[in-house]
Homo-oligomer: 456 residues x 2
């Protein structure tokens, strides 16, 4: 159901802030970085303050016009599709770092500030914001989508790193949730409710995030395995050892092969773990490396390589860093169908499934979180039978993950892409409670409608 | 407004599970460990399964009878007062550890299982549940109250340690929120919403929590300071250094004096930091101690003492461990008025305020979280003027904390004791959003009514 942006609301918006209906701009705001099709909004607005966002929301609420918050468009589940029409609220003019509090380990930013902007601003203090999803996403978008990434094994996801936020809800009120305290038990934790709510409960306009000291000494390591199961088992052994692993990434043989092809390199094409350690002294890091070497050797790891030199470390990790584009390059015009997340137990079955189905699908993941991705690559001219195979594999991965006690989506949210799976993961009563919360905060259903909750 | 438990509902409850109206039992279930008065429920029920809790909730909902979940009664803000009458749901028969998954670092327990029960069960695997509020509270109660404690600086609070839970909501439905994944972005994070909801949104019947490897080597340290400000500054310096401090507790001179009096000991009566470190090897711990010694020396710390011997370490920490009862013993029949939480900046002002007011009030805290407590001690026969002074100090501490960007309650929840402060901490729009969520999930207001939200 599309709800039209009326001329009256459009002219109200124009009085509030920069507003455009330029076709190119609309197109860019209707499509994320995934395979999900472009569904452009009817207008894009560029507010510069929370007050402007409030005015926009009031104007749209008045006309029952949907609102879709937009950060950098790097989400992957169709979150920004204007499936019911409406106005895209681009937060790129809300990009200031409002406060840095090095002694309290927190910083407050407007929602459109990106993580790299914040980190550039913090560098002088030896501190950093530690959630790293790869893309230079906006902090508001990262909060809205519950982003995580390679550092989550040590520093947690957005859920653990957002201390407070301001959100404009459907009434036009600006609600301040949480605060600056590292912990608080003052009322309902609506901060966490808004983290991962994908713009469906309100529009985040600023947020306070945790920042962390950057350990002065670091090391990278790489180790190969015969099977993905051996590699996954070694991840568990590493974490059980109590080692404060900073990153722990698993690439399957197909991913290494994709890297070799893309970079004309010749790494051994076998399941490989990429590790990163950091600590307060070079000695401490060396000790971590020694222990890690022992643990992975017990776990049948081969050719453990490590370095504390920044340049060498970057070389060791190169295969991991270029995974996504290397995977896409496996087929010309390759596009990722879905990133998927589940427990490490499922990696083995997934690799076998992909091999048996004879499709292209490198598997890699943030192994320390039990989180993996399969990039099922296709071309625009692939036939229906091939696409059908990919969808079937996708379906089986999700089912396998849920059956293993996992989740259908570990870090890219639900958007439109995973809506149908929520009913598999949760009983009806759970979805009813979610729907009740949504209806309570957005009774007109104008906040990014058609996302997250499955159709009734 | 009291809503009577009718004979009809009472007889329904008796058919479901053990039910009592014994006056002594009612009395014990109407009072927590704080100064808040006893307000007994009309009946106490002892369900043994989620299904029995569902039946109890349906019976009570039918008669509009309030339900108050009860764990071990160790909360401190009057959470379990039956302020509108009703039925206390004692979870002590829901005390099983349902599953331990050492390889996934999680365990699932019924809500009435206590943290020590879980930890006894995990000990053989070298793993532990790391939230330690002092009391051997039930895990359900700890989740409901958003508990934390001395280990939060390293392992986080309940918010970070509850992966999923089952809650029976007012409709009688059992909702499963979250799951076993370390991270998930599948729909609204209602797990976090229920953590800290103090039984006002539903009754938690089981929960899945994170468990952690217990580092094999540990050390304790103690260091004195001239002023609490110096001690607080050293806490910041320690955390900035990147040291993975496991516990970091600050006691003011009055608290040490209370300890000396209570234990007939003769520790130097000055602000003192108690530290704990843990790591994978004795060497690594020794290096942490060296670095900590350097940092606190730069911060004017005196007489740094440390030990890696378990017995010696326990001796060093003895003053911290007996703080609460030592403080209470300062006045015969002493009772704590309120534990309070705020940023370290406020400790100094609070200590001065207490000294200037000439009342008894040792100050100590989980300094690494910017969290401190003031135990304002009084006797039943203290005159009104003395009690008035205590209330005024309490009021100023909360106001100072909120003004500093802190919270009126860091880890003991709101209950009835902090309701009036929520309006100071949050704007009306925020409280409206909280009230909307409460009304959506509990439209009849039968779940622990009269708690958290300020009266309209």
């Amino acid at each position: 159901m599309r709800r039209r942006l009326t001329d009256r609301v459009a002219s109200q918006l124009e009085r509030i802030c920069t507003t455009t209906t330029n076709a190119g701009v609309l197109h860019r705001h209707g499509k994320d970085e995934s395979h999900h099709e472009c569904v452009p909004p009817e207008a894009v607005v560029f507010p510069s303050s929370t007050a402007e966002v409030q005015a926009i929301v009031r104007a749209c609420a008045d006309g029952r016009v949907p609102l879709i918050a937009y950060g950098t468009g790097t989400s992957l589940e169709g979150h920004i599709q204007a499936v019911e029409g409406g106005v895209c609220v681009d937060t790129s003019n809300l990009s200031s770092v409002l406060a840095e509090n090095p002694e309290d380990f927190d910083a407050r930013c407007e929602a459109g500030a990106t993580r790299k902007t914040l980190n550039a601003s913090l560098r002088h203090a030896g501190l950093a914001f530690m959630v790293d999803p790869g893309a230079d996403a906006s902090l508001g978008g990262m909060a809205a989508c519950g982003a995580s990434g390679t550092m989550a094994v040590r520093y947690g996801t957005m859920r653990e790193n957002v201390l407070g936020l301001t959100a404009v809800v459907a009434s036009g009120d600006a609600c301040r949730f949480g605060g600056r305290s590292k912990k608080s038990s003052a009322g309902y934790d609506l901060t966490s409710l808004f983290v991962g709510s994908e713009g469906t409960l309100g529009i985040i306009t600023d947020l306070t995030v945790k920042i962390h000291p950057v350990p002065p000494c670091a090391a990278a390591a790489k180790v190969g395995f015969e099977t993905v199961r051996d590699a996954a088992d070694s991840v568990v052994a590493l974490l059980c050892s109590g080692l404060p692993v900073q990153r722990c990434e698993l690439l399957d043989a197909a991913t290494i092969a994709a890297f070799n092809l893309y970079n004309r390199d010749s790494l051994v094409e076998r399941p490989t773990l990429f590790l990163e350690f950091a600590d307060v002294s070079a000695d401490a890091v060396a000790r971590q490396l020694d222990l890690a070497r022992d643990v992975v050797s017990d776990g049948l790891g081969q050719d453990f390589q490590a370095s504390t030199d920044e340049h060498q470390a970057a070389l060791l990790w190169k295969a991991r860093h270029s995974t996504y584009y290397a995977a896409l390059a496996l087929k010309p015009n390759g596009r990722a169908i879905v990133p998927l997340s589940a427990f490490a137990d499922c990696v083995d079955a997934t690799v076998q499934d992909i091999q048996a189905s004879e499709v292209v699908g490198p598997v890699f993941g943030h192994a320390g979180d039990g989180n993996f991705h399969a990039i099922l690559v296709y071309n625009d001219d692939d036939d229906r039978a091939y696409l059908h195979k990919l969808h079937a594999i996708h379906d089986r991965i999700v089912k396998r993950a849920i059956d293993a006690g996992g989740t259908c989506t570990g870090e890219h949210g639900v958007g439109v892409g995973k809506r149908s799976y929520l009913g598999r993961q949760f009983p009806r009563a759970t979805l009813d409670a979610m729907a009740a919360v949504k209806a309570a905060l957005d009774p007109l259903n104008i906040m990014n409608p058609g996302k997250i909750l499955p159709p009734p």
